[in-house]
C-alpha cells in the first residue's frame, strides 16, 4: 500500500474509532492517522489501546487512548467530550467495537445474557454514539458516521443468528440515519470487511487445506490486511472523496460477497 496516495486526505480532522485496541479497529485507526486524522482510540483495554497509540505515534500520527465501554451511555458521552477537548472538534465516528462473546451459537442456544451483551455493543452503542456525536458532526460538511458491519448481515450466517441479526440491524440503522442526518450534511455508511484478523489467521494456518478451500471464496485469493486493505477504504469513506455516498454498505472483502 502506497500511503502517499492518502496523505492529507483527513488532515485537520478528528476521528473516534471504537474497539481500536486491536484487530480491524486498530487497522482503521492507523489508516485514518496515516491520512492525517487525529485519532481517538476508544476501547476498554488500556493495554491494547496503548499499543495502538504507540503504533500510530511511531508512524508519525497523533492519537489518544480513552478508556470506553461503548455500551455505557455516560462513558460514550464522556469520551466524546474528552476527544473534543483534546483535539478541538469531532468529524468522524467509526463504530467498530464488537462483542467478545460473538462465537457461533445456534438459535436455540442463544441465552438472554449472550444476547444482551452482544446487543449492547452493537446497537446500544450506536444510540449512544449518535446522541453524543450529533452536535459536533452536524452542518460542518465533514461529519462522517461509519459503522463496521459484516457480509454475514447480508447473506446470513447459518450458525450465528445473533451476530447476523445484529449486523443486519446495523445496516437498517445506517440507511435510516443517512436519511435522517442528510439534512445535517452528515454522511452515514457501513463497511463490511473480510479482514485477516489474528483469529482468522490462526484458524486458517491450523489447516492449509482448509485455507485453500476458504480462499476459493475470495476472487482476490486472500483476506484483507487490516491497515493496508480495509483501512484505505475507511479513509476514502471518511474523506471528501466519498462525500456524496450515504446510506450504503460497502463490502471491502476481496470480492467475497458480490450479490447485491
Amino acid at each position: 500500500m502506497n500511503w502517499a496516495s492518502c496523505a492529507g486526505l483527513l488532515a485537520g480532522r478528528t476521528a473516534v474509532v471504537t474497539g481500536a485496541s486491536g484487530g480491524v479497529g486498530r487497522g482503521i485507526a492507523r489508516a485514518l492517522a496515516l491520512a492525517g486524522a487525529q485519532v481517538v482510540v476508544a476501547a476498554r483495554s488500556p493495554a491494547g489501546g496503548g499499543e495502538t497509540v504507540d503504533l500510530i505515534t511511531a508512524e508519525g500520527g497523533q492519537a489518544l487512548f480513552i478508556a470506553t465501554d461503548v455500551g455505557d451511555a455516560a462513558a460514550v458521552s464522556r469520551m466524546v467530550e474528552q476527544a473534543v477537548a483534546a483535539f478541538g472538534g469531532l468529524d468522524i465516528v467509526v463504530h467498530n467495537a464488537s462483542s467478545t462473546q460473538g462465537r457461533p451459537t445456534p438459535l436455540e442456544e442463544i441465552t438472554e445474557a449472550l444476547w444482551a451483551e452482544q446487543a449492547a455493543v452493537s446497537l446500544d452503542a450506536l444510540h449512544h454514539l449518535a446522541h453524543a456525536a450529533l452536535p459536533h458532526l452536524k452542518n460542518t460538511g465533514r461529519g462522517r458516521f461509519l459503522v463496521l458491519s459484516s457480509a454475514q448481515g447480508q447473506h446470513g450466517g447459518a450458525m450465528n443468528p445473533a451476530y447476523t441479526a445484529l449486523k443486519s440491524a446495523q445496516r437498517g440503522f445506517v440507511k435510516a440515519l443517512a436519511r435522517e442526518w442528510g439534512p445535517h450534511d452528515i454522511v452515514v455508511n457501513a463497511l463490511a470487511p473480510a479482514a485477516l484478523t489474528d483469529a482468522a489467521r490462526e484458524y486458517l494456518e491450523s489447516d492449509p487445506e482448509r485455507t485453500r478451500e476458504a480462499m476459493k471464496s475470495f476472487p482476490l485469493g486472500r483476506m484483507g490486511d487490516m491497515r493496508d486493505d480495509i483501512g484505505p477504504a475507511a479513509v476514502a469513506m471518511c474523506s471528501d472523496l466519498w462525500r456524496y455516498v450515504t446510506g450504503q454498505t460497502v463490502n471491502v472483502d476481496g470480492g467475497y460477497y458480490t450479490a447485491l
Binding site: 436455540e108 442463544i110 446487543a119 448481515g153 445484529l166 440491524a169 437498517g172 435510516a176
Partner: protein, 237 residues
C-alpha cells in the same frame, strides 16, 4: 389441494404483535383452504413473548399437537412504530424499538422450530413494511429492528434448510399495510411511474396469496428470500 387452495386441510398460524398489519390475512389464508389460528392478543404480546416457555405454552393452548403448514409473523412492537428523530429517543425507548423485537423473533422462532422441524416441512413468512430496505427518517429504531429481523430470517433459513422448513420475508409498501405510516416522511421513488402497477396490493388476495404460495408445493424451493410486494416501486436488487 388445487392451485387455488394450496393449504387445503392444513393449518396456518398468524402471530401479530403490536401494530396490526395483517388485515385480510386470515381471510386470504382461509380462501387458500387453511384452518387459521391466530395469536394477536395484546396481553399475550406484552407478557408471553418475553419468555420462551410462555410462548411454548401459548402455542400448545392454541394448536394442541397440530403442526402449522404456514406461520405468518408480523412483529412490530408499539415502541418501534413511534416516529421521531433518534436524538429524541432515550435508551429505554431505543431498546424497546430497535432491539427487543429482534429477541422476541428469536424466541418465537426457537419455539416454532421445535414444532415444525421434526415434521420436515412448513413455511414461516415474516410480513413487514418495505421501508427498512430503503431507510426512513424518524424511523431509525424501526428500520434497525426490521433489518435485524430480516438478517435473523436469513440465518434461520440456512440453519433450518435441511429440515425442509423454509423461512422468508415479504415486504409491502408501508401505507398499504397501515395508515399509521401516513404520518411518516417515507422515501419515495422519484419517477414518472413511481409504482409500476400504480396501486397498493390487495391484502386478502395478493399478500395472503404470496404467503400461501410459499407454503404450497410450488413455493418449497424458496427460502431466505426477500419478496417485495410493493407493486414494482423499488425493484431491488
Amino acid at each position: 389441494m388445487t392451485a387455488e387452495t394450496p393449504l387445503a386441510g392444513r393449518t396456518a398460524l398468524i402471530v401479530e404483535l403490536g401494530l396490526p398489519l395483517l388485515g385480510g390475512m386470515a381471510e386470504g389464508l382461509e380462501d387458500a383452504g387453511a384452518a387459521v389460528a391466530a395469536l394477536r392478543d395484546p396481553d399475550v404480546m406484552g407478557g408471553v413473548m418475553g419468555d420462551a416457555e410462555a410462548i411454548r405454552a401459548a402455542l400448545n393452548d392454541l394448536l394442541g399437537e397440530t403442526v402449522p403448514a404456514l406461520v405468518v409473523l408480523s412483529l412490530l412492537g408499539e415502541a418501534s412504530t413511534v416516529i421521531r428523530p433518534v436524538e429524541q429517543t432515550d435508551i429505554d425507548s431505543w431498546r424497546a424499538a430497535a432491539i427487543e423485537p429482534i429477541r422476541t423473533a428469536m424466541r418465537l422462532l426457537t419455539v416454532l422450530g421445535e414444532r415444525m422441524k421434526p415434521a420436515g416441512e412448513g413455511a414461516v413468512v415474516f410480513l413487514a413494511p418495505s421501508l427498512s430496505l430503503v431507510g426512513g427518517a424518524g424511523l431509525v429504531g424501526l428500520c434497525t429492528m426490521l433489518e435485524g429481523q430480516r438478517g435473523l430470517m436469513k440465518s434461520v433459513a440456512r440453519q433450518w434448510g435441511a429440515s425442509g422448513v423454509t423461512v422468508n420475508w415479504a415486504a409491502a409498501a408501508p401505507r398499504a399495510l397501515s395508515s399509521h405510516f401516513d404520518a411518516a416522511d417515507l422515501a419515495a421513488k422519484g419517477d414518472a411511474v413511481p409504482i409500476a402497477l400504480g396501486r397498493r396490493p390487495d391484502a386478502r388476495r395478493e399478500i395472503a396469496g404470496l404467503a400461501s404460495w410459499l407454503a404450497g408445493p410450488a413455493g418449497r424451493g424458496v427460502t431466505g428470500a426477500t419478496l417485495m410486494m410493493d407493486g414494482g416501486e423499488w425493484m431491488v436488487p
